[in-house]
Each structure stands twice: as structure tokens, then as C-alpha cells.
């Protein structure tokens, strides 16, 4: 097998950009949320500081092998998800490692981190961790469904499972975006998107006031730092998929940043407005409001 070794530094560059953008974006979104509450909010670099602090903590404990590996799984999931999808359309540099697989790979790799994290949190032996995981997994099954349906609808629409080809099909003007050529699918997917971002009204998984704080209850110091890094990468990686599938992808980093920000803002926007659902409520909500749209999009495409 001939391997293009230049892929590695290029991918690391993508990773570097996305990590930093993710840190800043998270802080920005948090600040926007704070401003809605008429607060000043955190400094824009606060997430970096927190991460350094967490790496700087001197002691740590471990509950066992899976506990130790959980954050590694988590971050591998985020990094892998990012690298399996081309970030910038038409750019060889930032096509990352997408030669390994297509859209389906990305869709299923989302679960890699989730599963690993769930296992790690599970080994901590903390009941809140287990409760958080049951909530998270339960909600995920419902939230991923409209997204899955929308993805399939889009794949049918363009008759391909390759992300690059899907983006290619949307080039040539904003009206070629899936957003306008297949609005049902996009609506369904964007509703599902809300459920996967761990923001209100779908944040009962973490529920700090109730089961502090769900799966990561026992995680701290460098484990937490890894998870924070993933927190920066994962939403962006996920949004990249949305962007590529539904919003025409990005030709350059500027468009990329702008589109990612807007898509992220959508969940923040909903999040500051709505209170929290219980798990069974959110499951029903997705099944009643989002899934029918997804089904419809598959039927009419």
C-alpha cells in the first residue's frame, strides 16, 4: 500500500486549527449564553486556562483500566471523526484521512467515543455516572434517528455516500445547498442536532443539579483535560458533517468558521430559550416532531 505520508502533517494542521477554533467557539457560545442572561460571561480564553489547570493538577486517581481508557476513547472518537471527514472542500491539504471511508464511517464512528466514555464512566462505579449514561444513550437513540434519516435522504438524493461528492453536488450557488433542495431532511437533521449537543432542552444527561454531573462525575485532572479537548473538537467535527451534508460545505477556512459558528449558534439559541426535558419527554419529542419529517424526506426524495 502506498501511503501519502504528507497526509499526516496536513491532518495535524487541521486538528490544530479545529482544536483552537473549538476552544474559542465554545467560549464564545458560552459568552453569548451569558449575555442573554445579562452577564459578562467568561473570558474568551477561559477554556485554555481550565485545560492547562487540569493538566497541571498534581494528583489523580483511577478506578481501573476502563476508567483510564474512557477519556482516550472519547478523544480518539472526536479526533477520528474529524479526520475521517474532509474539512475543506476541494482542498487536498484538508481532506484529512477521508480515504479510509465514507459518510457511513463517520456516522458510526460518532459512537466510538460515546461507547468508550460510557464504559469508562461505568467503571467508576458511581451510580450517577450510570444514570447519566442511561439517559444519554436513551436520548441518543431518539435524537440520532432524524439525523440518520436525513443523511439517508441526502445520500439518496445525490446517489452517493461520499462526503466529497455530496459537497460537490451542492456547489454553484446557495440555492444548490441541500438546505434548499431538500428542506425536509435538513429540518429533521437540525432538530436532531439539538439533541446531540447536550444543551437545553436536552441536557438532562448531565443535569448538574440532579445527578452531578452524570457520566464524568469521577473524572478529573488530565482525564478531564482530555475530555475538554474533545469538547472542543467533537462539536466542530460533528458540525462539519452537517455543514458538508446540508449547507454546501466550506471552500476555505473563513467560510468554514462562519458556517460552523452559525450552526453551533442554532443549538445555543434554542438552548437559552427552552427549559429542560425529561428523558422520556425528549424521546417522545423527537419521535413526534423530528422523525416524521425525516421519514417524509426519505419518502419524497
Amino acid at each position: 500500500m502506498s501511503f501519502d505520508w504528507m497526509k499526516i502533517p496536513y491532518s495535524l494542521l487541521t486538528l490544530f486549527i479545529v482544536v483552537n477554533y473549538g476552544f474559542l467557539l465554545n467560549a464564545l457560545i458560552q459568552k453569548i449564553g451569558a449575555r442573554v442572561g445579562r452577564r459578562h460571561g467568561i473570558p474568551i480564553w477561559q477554556n485554555y486556562v481550565d485545560m492547562i489547570k487540569n493538566y497541571g493538577l498534581r494528583s489523580s486517581i483511577t478506578h481501573g483500566v476502563m476508567f483510564y481508557l474512557g477519556p482516550v476513547f472519547r478523544l480518539s472518537g472526536g479526533v477520528g471523526l474529524l479526520l475521517f471527514v474532509p474539512t475543506i472542500y476541494g482542498s487536498y491539504m484538508f481532506s484529512n484521512l477521508s480515504f479510509a471511508g465514507d459518510l457511513i464511517l463517520a456516522l458510526y464512528f460518532v459512537f466510538f467515543g460515546t461507547l468508550g466514555m460510557a464504559l469508562g464512566a461505568g467503571e467508576s462505579g458511581h451510580p450517577h455516572a450510570a444514570i447519566g449514561i442511561t439517559r444519554g444513550l436513551s436520548q441518543m437513540t431518539a435524537a440520532e434517528l432524524p439525523f440518520g434519516l436525513a443523511v439517508f435522504s441526502v445520500a439518496l438524493q445525490y446517489q452517493t455516500l461520499s462526503v466529497t461528492e455530496i459537497v460537490a453536488a451542492q456547489q454553484g450557488g446557495i440555492l444548490n445547498w441541500t438546505l434548499f433542495t431538500n428542506p425536509l431532511a435538513v429540518t429533521a437533521a437540525m432538530l436532531g442536532f439539538l439533541g446531540s449537543m447536550m444543551r437545553p432542552p436536552f441536557d438532562v444527561v448531565l443535569a448538574p443539579q440532579e445527578i452531578p454531573i452524570g457520566p464524568p462525575t469521577e473524572y478529573h485532572s488530565s482525564y478531564l483535560a482530555l475530555m475538554q479537548t474533545n469538547r472542543a473538537i467533537f462539536p466542530v467535527a460533528k458540525i462539519v458533517i452537517y455543514m458538508n451534508l446540508f449547507f454546501g460545505g466550506a471552500d476555505d477556512w473563513l467560510t468554514f468558521c462562519f458556517k460552523v459558528f452559525l450552526i453551533y449558534l442554532w443549538s445555543a439559541f434554542v438552548g437559552v430559550v427552552f427549559p429542560r426535558f425529561r428523558v422520556e419527554q425528549s424521546i417522545r419529542w423527537f419521535l413526534v416532531w423530528a422523525v416524521p419529517l425525516g421519514v417524509l424526506s426519505i419518502v419524497v426524495v
Binding site: T62, H63, V72, G125, T134, T141, A225
Partner: protein
């Protein structure tokens, strides 16, 4: 020696016995045995002559003149066989009843000899009045023999019998005399020449009287009392010999009656068959149940006699097969019942300490149910084909329904025998054992004979000569050996067979062969962990494997069906070995037999359209056309789907798989389910898409499959029992596989195959690891476990790899299945079922996480602090599976590539491209090697980083958790595991209402209620029975002749 001597010896010895001194009991007994031996010998001699030479029947004239002026007897091949059966039954019963006979003295012996003589007479005679005389002799002899019993109630039973017999004889005599009046002859052949239409009423009377001797349903209450109360030795005669003789008498009468009376026989027969089986359901008394079963079997044979018009000369093969199987088995069971002290069915559990007796019981039950390789199986096959060929599907349906009922109560009984407890001891003297084992031997010999006959007559296959079956049966002979030895032989045999034959399979079959044989051998490694002799395990397991390998080796419908039945039976025995498996094994065998009957009906229907019947090459299914083809498709598909546990017929699976032994669960789940898939492969390969009432049947299949996947997964997440969870997961996984098949495109099939391979590996692995844990912890309830990761690390690794693979997360092989799935549905135009399958996908995460978390993670409990890793032999196959899974994940091409090419002949379009390590489809691409490398590199780098920054982590113990500044109370209250997905139940719990269980429960409930209501008509009053009889005659008259 002339056949007349049978009569003569009988009469003569009876006279001699009569003249004996009252005290010369032993001499009398010797004379009795001698007489019966001589009668048997004469019959046997004639049978050999006829069978060897194919000579024509011989008429024996009495009084020196020809009929109609004198009585004549006829001895032919059938007569000789039947008289042999009767006299042997008599002889064996006499041996069996030795004590009772000697105690009662010469009169009882004389009556026995007379009874046997009279029964032979019925078979031999060609004179109608002579028939009557023999009948009356039997009545009297029966009346006498009933008194042999120690049961006081036998007296009243005998009296009831006499009452009804009086009515019968009145009808018979009147019929005879008017028939004589009309024809001027008493000779049956003479009457036959003239035809019955001239004296229809008279014939009706004779006919109905003889039929009444068969105890037709519902006019049979009196006979059951005899079955229940008389000496089992006599019940054996009453069931096996009397039934045989009377059936032959009916056959003779049908000679007179001709074709227009066939429907009467059929009608009475089928009503009796179904009705008696139905009434047998609620019985708790073993002998009464056997009585009902006897009546039902005679009803079935009567039905066959009534179908002579379409069966032609084959009816002898069919009726004979059924009759012999019934007679041998029923006699054997009655003799066996004498060894059991109490009369409840559950008391038979006492037998389970005696493997040989259990084997005898199994043989008899298998014969009664028409399972291969016994004569009833060949007969059933022939009968179904003949009925289907003439379009008598309603009759076929009724017969199969009745047979299913019968299997129901017989296997339930067998379940009692194996699984219930009994503190009674079985005392088995030689005289009691001889008849039973004579019957067993006879059963197997008959199986061989019928197999040979089926070869010569129909070009079928003698199952007892097939290598895999012989290999399986040979384990019966080495049951004395220790388990490890047998295990080695089994593994060696399977591997050797694979090595011998692997070149013969096409790529598709090769995959199945590998899973069945090599996969089976790997799962058998786990069996080394068992100690002792493990009696009964290896014959059953090998029977299952034999069935499975025969399934893929066969090319014709008969071989396929036979293999199907064999693997069903073998797996049933395996499943029944589990701890609480009795009800689940029963529902398994019932659903499986129900499915098998559907398959039989399907093949029969197909054979009616694609000659040559009665067996055809499976490839010829493709030649079927419109009106028949969709029905065949439906029958076969539903039949196969009972094995893959499609939704609706899935209720047997969870219990069966969960309750099975640790090393059996992977066999029945990982391997056995594939038999159903293979069936669907074969079906779809040959028949493709079919339409029924405008519905595309593969679309219906898609819906069923999708619902199966969804509901199987949903039900899995609510299980507390780890093995049950896996079992429901299997249902869901099979849904995926069937879905792939039903897509009917290249990638769909490839996906199904991918699931076949994957599901075998990971489900066998998961069942072994969870089974190993359950073995160590002594419970299967997951919430009772927890925190076992450090104690059972290898089992944990297997489970971890397993769940990653099942969930389809890259980089393991489950992802390949998902990837192919998405590519496959891209080309399909059916979209709604996919939506359901989409929903099913993520749900798998829920139960998989629950499985691994509640068992291995979380809090370790007090009592499990010292458990050890699962036994080596259970861990070893798991590790092999881990390796296989890894290899298959990185190089799926080694298995899939050839199949991909092979599938081109069915679906030239839409194959995969294989370039280097990359796999491409028309829509996407997938590079398993790259994926594995990338993920490993990322993971490795991050892990190294974490180990660098977090190198001093303090290992803490399980209660060192932040517990809102409190301390955990006990591990039990800290381990969050029970009702794990409560919110999910709140949201979607309504989807998992046990509708299918309720549906089948209602059906069985209705059957039992109906039977209970019908039972009330059997008041026990002799007059009521007489009234039933008269009513029966009147109704039969009204239906047949009209008012």
C-alpha cells in the same frame, strides 16, 4: 406352514389350556408363549417368503370348497406383516404380563391366545360373517382380558365396552345379513365385485360398525376407560394389535364400498385424528393420554385409507408406515408405562435415571411424531405430497394441525420426563425390559426398512445410511465414555468431515459449512469444561450438527426436509438439557415443528407443480409459476422464519437460548439460527420475487424483518437476565440478516452473509462469556453481578470486543455489515421498512452497554469478591473468537470476496470492487485496514500522552467515589443496574407489550378450554357412551346418505 395354522394353533392351544389343571400355571404359561411364538413364526415365515420372492397372495380354502360356499383366508405380504405384528405384540405382551397371567391362571392365558388368534383371523379372513365372528371373539376376549388388571375400575370399563359392543354387533349383523341378501355371498371379494351401491344402507351399517371398533372420535369414551384401567400389557394389544386388525378390516370393507365410501373413511378419520389429539391435550393420566393418542393415530391411518383414490398403491406404504410406527411405539409406551408407579404424566420423571429407558421413550415419541428416520416420517412426506398433488390442501392442513397437537402433548410429556423430579424408583425386570427394547429395535429396523422402501419406490433417501446421521447415532453407542473423549471424537469428526468435503461446496455453502462444522467444533471446545459422562449431550448435539450439514449438502427437497427435522430434534434435546428449560424447549419444538410442517406443505405444493414428485431438486423451485409459486414462497418463508425467530413466532427463542447450558447457548444461537437463514437463502435464490394478491412478498419480508430487528432490540434492552438479553439481541440481529436477504440485491445478500458470519462469531463469544460469568456467579440476573472486570478480565475483553462488533462501531467487523447495509438500501426502492431499521440501530447500544456495564463494571458485590475467571475451556474459544473477529474486521475480503463473485450469477449488478485493501461500491468506499491503522494510531498516541501526564494515578477501590460527601451503603444499593432503562420504558414501553406471547397463549388457552369442554361429554356413564355411538351413527348416516 399354512397360515391356517395360526388359527389352528391359537384355537388348539386355547383348548389345551382349558383342559389343564388349575394348578399347572407355569405349564400353561409355557404353552401360551409357545403358541404365540408359533403364530409369530408362521407369520414371519410367510413375510419372508413374500418379501423375498414377491409372490402373489395365497388363498386358503376351508371346508374344501371355493367361496362363496366356504370361508377362505388369504395370506399375502400385508397379511403376513400384520399377523406378525399382532402375534409378536401378543407374544411380547404375554412376556410382559407374565406375572399377571400366571396369577390369573389358564383361563386368562386362553383368552389371550384367543384374542391374538381372533385378531389374526380378522386380518386373514375374506368372509364377512367370519369377520363378525372374530370381532365377537375379540369382544369376549377383551372382556376377559380387561379383568387381568389390578385396577378395580377396569370392571366398569369392561362393562361399558360390552354395552357399546352389543350395539355394534347388532348393526354389523343387520348389515351383514342385508348385504348377503343383496349379493348372495358372504365373501368380501364377492361382494366387492358387485359393488356396494346396490346395498348402500347395509354396507353403511357394516362399515360404520367396523369403524366404530376403531373408537372414532367422539364416540369413543368407553374405549378410553379400557386404555386407562386395564393392564398395560393388554392396553398394548388393545392399541397396537386390535387397532391394526380393525384397520385392515376397514380396508377390506372399503374394497366392497369402493371409491364412494372413501370420503366417509377420510372424514371420520380426520375428525378422529384432530379431535382425539385435541382431547389428549388436557389429559394428565398417562395411559388415558396414550389411549387418545392411539385413537388419533388410527384416525390418521383411517384418513389415509380414505385417500386411496389419490394415493393409489402407495397408500400401503403410507398407511403401513404410519400403522407400524404407531403400533410399535404405542405398544412400547404401554409396556413402558408399567415401569412407572404413578399414573400422572409427571411421574414418568422416575425414568430419567435410566438412560436406556429414556432412549426407548425418545424412540417411541419420535416414531409417533413422524420424525426421521422412522417410518412415519417417510409416510408423512409421501402423504403430504400426494395430498398436495391433488390439491387437497385442507386435508393436509388438518392432518398437520393434528400432528402438531400430538407433538405438543408428547413433547410436553417428554419434558416432564426429563425435567421433573420424582422420588419413585423404577424397577425393571427382564420380562418388562424385553418387550420394550424389542419394540425399540423394531422401530429402528422399521425405520431402515422404510428408508429402503422409499429408495426403491420413490427414489428418496435412506436416512439411516447417511454418514452424518450415522456419526451422530454412533454416539449412542459410546455413551459410556467420559465426556472429554466424546468431545474429542465429536470435534475430530466434524473437522474431518469438513476436510473431506470442503471442495464440494460453492462459496455460499462453504461459509455455512465452515460455520456449521468448524464453528461448531470451536464451540465444542467449551464443552471440555464439562465433567462426567454427560449422557445425552453428544447424540443430541451431533444430531443437530448432522442435520445442519446435511441441510447444506442436500440438493433435493426430501433431503432438505429430513435434515431440517433432524437438526430441529437434535437442538430440541440440547435445549431441553438447560436448567429451567422445560416450557421453553416445548415452545421451541412446537414452533419448529409447526414451521417444519409449513415447509413440508410448501415442498409438497411445489412438488405438485414441478415434477418429479415426491422429491425434486431445490433448484427447480425456480421453475414454479404464478398460482402455486407465491404460496410455496409464503409457506417456506414462514417455515424458515420460525427458525430465525421473526417477530410473532419469536417467543420460543429467548427462553430456549437463555435457559440452555453454557456451551449450548452459543450452538443454538450462533449456529442453529443460521439454518433458518440458509433456508431463506435457498428459497430466495431459487424463487426470487413473488407476488401474492398484488403484494410483493419480499417487501412483506422486509417489513417483518425490520419489525423483528426493532422489537427484538427493544425487548433486549428491558431484560434483566443476561442470556435473555443476548437471545433477544439475536432476534434483532436475525431481523437484520433477513432484511438483507429480502432486499433482493447483491449487497443485501452480501450483508446477510456478513451478518451470518459476524453473528456467529460475536454471539457465540458473548454467550460463552456471559455463560461463563453466570456459571461462576450462579445467577444470570445481571443486576446481581457488577464489577467483575478485575476478576474475569478475559471474559470482559471478549464481551467488550463483542459489543463493539455487535454495535457496528468501527473498526471492528460489525461496521462492515452496517456499511454494506447502507450501500444495499441505496439501491432498494422500498423505504419505509428502512426507517424502522434505522430506529433499531442505535437501540442496540442500549442493551449492549447494559450488558457490559451491569456485569463487568460498576460495583462488585460481597459474595462475588472471590470468583475466579471462567474455566479455561470456556475462555479459550472466546479468545479464538476475538482473534477471528479481529482478522475478519481487517480482512473481510477473505470471506466475502469469493461470495461477492459467486453472487454475481444471481445479481450481476451492484457488486463490490476490491482493489487492494479498499472496498468500493457504487456509492461509497471503505478501507478496513486503513481504518484500523488510523484508529489504533490515534488511540495509541492519546493513550501515551495520558500515561505521560497522568503517570502517578492512585488506584482506588470501589467505594472511593464521590457520593455527595456521604459513603455508599452497600454495593447492592450503589450498583445502578435494575430496570436500567426506566425512562425508555416510560417512553416506548408500549411497543414491547408481549402481544405475540399473549396471542399464542390465547390460542393454546382456547385449545385447552375447548378440549376441557369436550371432555365433559365423556361422563363415564356407559349409557351415555352408547348414546354417543348411536348419535355418531346417525350423524354419519345423515352426512353420507342423507335423510
Amino acid at each position: 406352514m399354512s397360515a391356517l395354522y395360526i388359527i389352528a394353533v391359537g384355537l388348539g392351544s386355547a383348548f389345551v389350556l382349558g383342559m389343564l389343571n388349575e394348578r399347572q400355571k407355569n405349564l400353561g404359561y409355557v404353552i401360551t408363549l409357545a403358541a404365540l411364538t408359533v403364530m409369530s413364526a408362521i407369520s414371519a415365515q410367510w413375510l419372508i417368503i413374500f418379501a423375498a420372492t414377491g409372490a402373489h397372495p395365497i388363498d386358503i380354502f376351508t371346508a374344501g370348497t371355493q367361496p362363496p360356499f366356504a370361508i377362505n383366508l388369504r395370506m399375502g405380504v400385508i397379511e403376513s406383516a400384520l399377523t406378525l405384528l399382532i402375534s409378536l405384540t401378543g407374544l411380547l405382551s404375554a412376556i410382559h404380563m407374565g406375572n399377571a397371567l400366571v396369577a390369573r391362571g389358564r383361563r386368562a392365558m386362553a383368552v389371550l391366545v384367543i384374542a391374538i388368534m381372533a385378531l389374526c383371523g380378522i386380518v386373514l379372513t375374506r368372509d364377512i360373517f367370519n369377520l363378525f365372528v372374530f370381532f365377537e371373539l375379540i369382544v369376549i376376549a377383551t372382556g376377559g382380558m380387561v379383568l387381568l388388571s389390578d385396577d378395580e375400575r377396569a370392571v366398569s370399563a369392561g362393562f361399558k365396552y360390552l354395552i357399546v359392543s352389543q350395539f355394534i354387533s347388532v348393526l354389523l349383523l343387520i348389515g351383514i345379513i342385508f348385504a348377503y341378501h343383496a349379493t348372495g355371498t358372504l365373501n368380501i371379494d364377492g361382494m366387492a365385485e358387485q359393488g356396494a351401491s346396490a346395498f348402500a344402507l347395509a354396507f353403511f351399517l357394516m362399515f360404520i360398525a367396523v369403524i366404530a371398533e376403531l373408537k372414532p372420535f367422539p364416540a369413543n369414551g368407553w374405549a378410553l376407560d379400557i386404555y386407562e384401567s386395564s393392564h398395560p400389557g393388554f392396553s398394548a394389544i388393545f392399541s397396537a394389535a386390535t387397532g391394526t386388525a380393525v384397520l385392515f378390516a376397514v380396508d377390506k370393507l372399503l374394497l366392497i364400498g369402493g371409491a364412494e365410501w372413501f370420503p366417509v373413511a377420510s372424514g371420520v378419520g380426520i375428525v378422529t385424528f384432530v379431535g382425539a389429539n385435541l382431547l389428549a391435550l388436557p389429559q394428565t393420566n398417562d395411559r388415558r393420554l396414550l389411549g387418545y393418542s392411539s385413537i388419533a393415530q388410527t384416525g390418521l391411518i383411517l384418513t389415509v385409507l380414505g385417500q386411496q383414490d389419490i394415493l393409489g398403491q402407495n397408500y400401503l406404504f403410507i398407511a403401513g408406515g404410519l400403522l407400524l410406527a404407531h403400533a410399535v411405539a404405542k405398544a412400547g409406551l404401554y409396556w413402558l408405562s408399567d415401569l412407572v408407579a404413578s399414573r400422572q404424566l409427571t411421574a414418568w420423571a422416575a425414568l430419567k435415571e435410566r438412560p436406556l429407558l429414556v432412549f426407548a421413550f425418545v424412540t417411541f415419541v419420535a416414531m409417533l411424531c413422524g420424525l426421521p428416520p422412522f417410518p412415519g416420517f417417510y409416510a408423512k412426506w409421501e402423504l403430504a405430497h400426494a395430498l398436495a398433488a391433488e390439491g387437497r390442501m385442507a386435508m393436509l392442513a388438518l392432518i398437520l394441525f393434528g400432528a402438531l397437537l400430538e407433538a405438543g402433548y408428547l413433547f410436553r410429556w417428554f419434558g416432564y420426563l426429563i425435567k421433573r423430579e420424582s422420588d419413585e424408583k423404577v424397577v425393571c425386570s427382564a420380562t418388562q425390559a424385553i418387550p420394550v427394547f424389542a419394540a425399540v429395535i423394531a422401530g429402528w429396523v422399521l425405520g431402515f426398512v422404510w428408508g429402503e422402501l422409499s429408495v426403491t419406490r420413490f427414489g428418496l433417501n435412506n436416512l439411516l445410511l447417511t454418514l452424518p446421521l450415522l456419526f451422530a447415532l454412533s454416539f449412542l453407542l459410546i455413551e459410556w465414555a467420559p465426556a472429554w473423549l466424546k468431545n474429542t471424537v465429536a470435534i475430530g469428526g466434524m473437522v474431518a468431515f469438513f476436510v473431506m468435503t470442503y471442495a464440494e461446496y460453492d462459496p455460499l455453502r462453504l461459509i455455512f459449512a465452515v460455520i456449521f462444522l468448524i464453528g461448531g467444533a470451536i464451540t465444542l471446545l467449551a464443552s471440555y469444561s464439562a465433567h462426567g459422562r454427560r449422557v445425552g449431550f453428544y447424540p443430541a448435539a451431533m444430531l443437530m450438527y448432522a442435520g445442519m450439514i446435511m441441510l447444506i449438502r442436500t440438493t433435493d427437497s426430501f433431503g432438505f426436509f429430513a435434515a431440517w427435522e433432524l437438526l430441529t430434534v437434535g437442538s430440541y434435546f440440547l435445549i431441553l438439557r438447560g436448567k429451567e428449560s422445560e416450557p421453553h424447549a416445548l415452545s421451541y419444538i412446537l414452533f419448529s415443528l409447526g414451521g417444519a410442517f409449513l415447509i413440508l406443505a410448501g415442498f409438497a405444493l411445489a412438488a405438485s407443480a414441478v415434477p418429479p414428485a415426491p422429491t425434486f431438486s431445490l433448484a427447480n423451485l425456480a421453475a414454479l409459476t404464478a398460482p402455486v409459486a407465491p404460496w410455496v414462497f409464503v409457506l417456506l418463508a414462514v417455515g424458515f422464519m420460525t427458525k430465525t425467530a421473526a417477530i410473532g413466532v419469536h417467543i420460543w427463542l429467548p427462553g430456549a437460548h437463555a435457559e440452555a447450558e453454557t456451551d449450548v447457548s452459543p450452538m443454538v444461537s450462533g449456529i442453529l439460527l443460521k439454518a433458518g437463514l440458509y433456508g431463506l437463502f435457498v428459497l430466495l435464490m431459487a424463487m426470487g420475487k413473488q407476488q401474492l394478491f398484488g403484494i410483493e412478498l419480499t417487501h412483506a419480508l422486509l417489513w417483518i424483518a425490520a419489525l423483528t430487528a426493532l422489537l427484538g432490540n427493544l425487548m433486549a434492552i428491558f431484560q434483566e437476565d443476561g442470556k435473555r438479553l443476548l437471545a433477544y439481541s439475536s432476534i434483532g440481529q436475525m431481523g437484520y440478516a433477513v432484511f438483507g436477504l429480502a432486499l433482493m440485491n447483491h449487497l443485501g445478500w452480501l450483508m446477510a452473509l456478513m451478518f451470518v458470519i459476524n453473528h456467529y462469531i460475536y454471539k457465540a463469544m458473548l454467550f460463552l462469556s456471559v455463560g461463563g460469568v453466570a456459571k461462576r456467579t450462579g445467577t444470570r440476573d445481571m443486576y446481581k453481578m457488577g464489577g467483575l472486570i478485575t476478576l474475569m478480565p478475559l471474559s470482559f475483553i471478549a464481551t467488550l470486543i463483542g459489543i463493539i462488533a455487535v454495535s457496528g462501531v468501527p473498526p471492528l467487523s460489525g461496521f462492515g455489515g452496517r456499511w454494506i447495509f447502507y450501500n444495499a438500501i441505496m439501491t432498494s426502492d422500498v423505504r419505509m421498512p428502512m426507517v424502522i431499521l434505522f430506529l433499531a440501530g442505535p437501540i442496540a447500544f442500549l442493551y449492549l452497554f447494559r450488558l457490559i456495564y451491569t456485569i463487568f463494571l460498576g460495583q462488585l458485590k460481597d459474595e462475588f469478591r472471590r470468583v475466579k475467571e471462567a474455566p479455561f475451556w470456556i475462555v479459550l474459544p472466546q479468545m479464538i473468537y476475538v482473534a477471528l473477529l479481529m482478522i475478519f474486521a481487517v480482512f473481510p475480503g477473505i470471506a466475502l470476496r469469493r461470495v461477492d463473485e459467486y453472487l454475481n450469477q444471481f445479481f450481476p449488478e451492484g457488486g463490490l470492487g476490491w482493489s487492494g485493501n479498499e472496498i468500493t461500491s457504487a456509492y461509497g468506499y471503505w478501507n478496513p485496514v486503513s481504518i484500523m491503522i488510523i484508529i489504533c494510531v490515534i488511540f495509541g498516541v492519546l493513550l501515551a500522552w495520558l500515561m505521560f501526564v497522568d503517570r502517578k494515578a492512585q488506584k482506588v477501590k470501589q467505594f472511593n467515589i464521590v457520593f455527595s460527601a456521604e459513603a455508599p451503603y452497600r454495593p447492592e444499593t450503589t450498583h445502578f443496574a435494575w430496570n436500567f432503562f426506566a425512562p425508555y420504558r416510560k417512553a416506548l414501553g408500549f411497543l414491547v407489550l408481549p402481544l405475540a406471547t399473549m396471542f399464542w397463549g390465547t390460542i393454546t388457552g382456547l385449545l385447552h378450554t375447548g378440549a376441557d369442554i369436550a371432555r365433559r361429554f365423556y361422563t363415564g356413564n356407559g349409557q351415555t357412551y352408547a348414546f354417543h355411538f348411536l348419535l355418531f351413527v346417525i350423524v354419519a348416516y345423515a352426512i353420507r346418505i342423507g335423510f
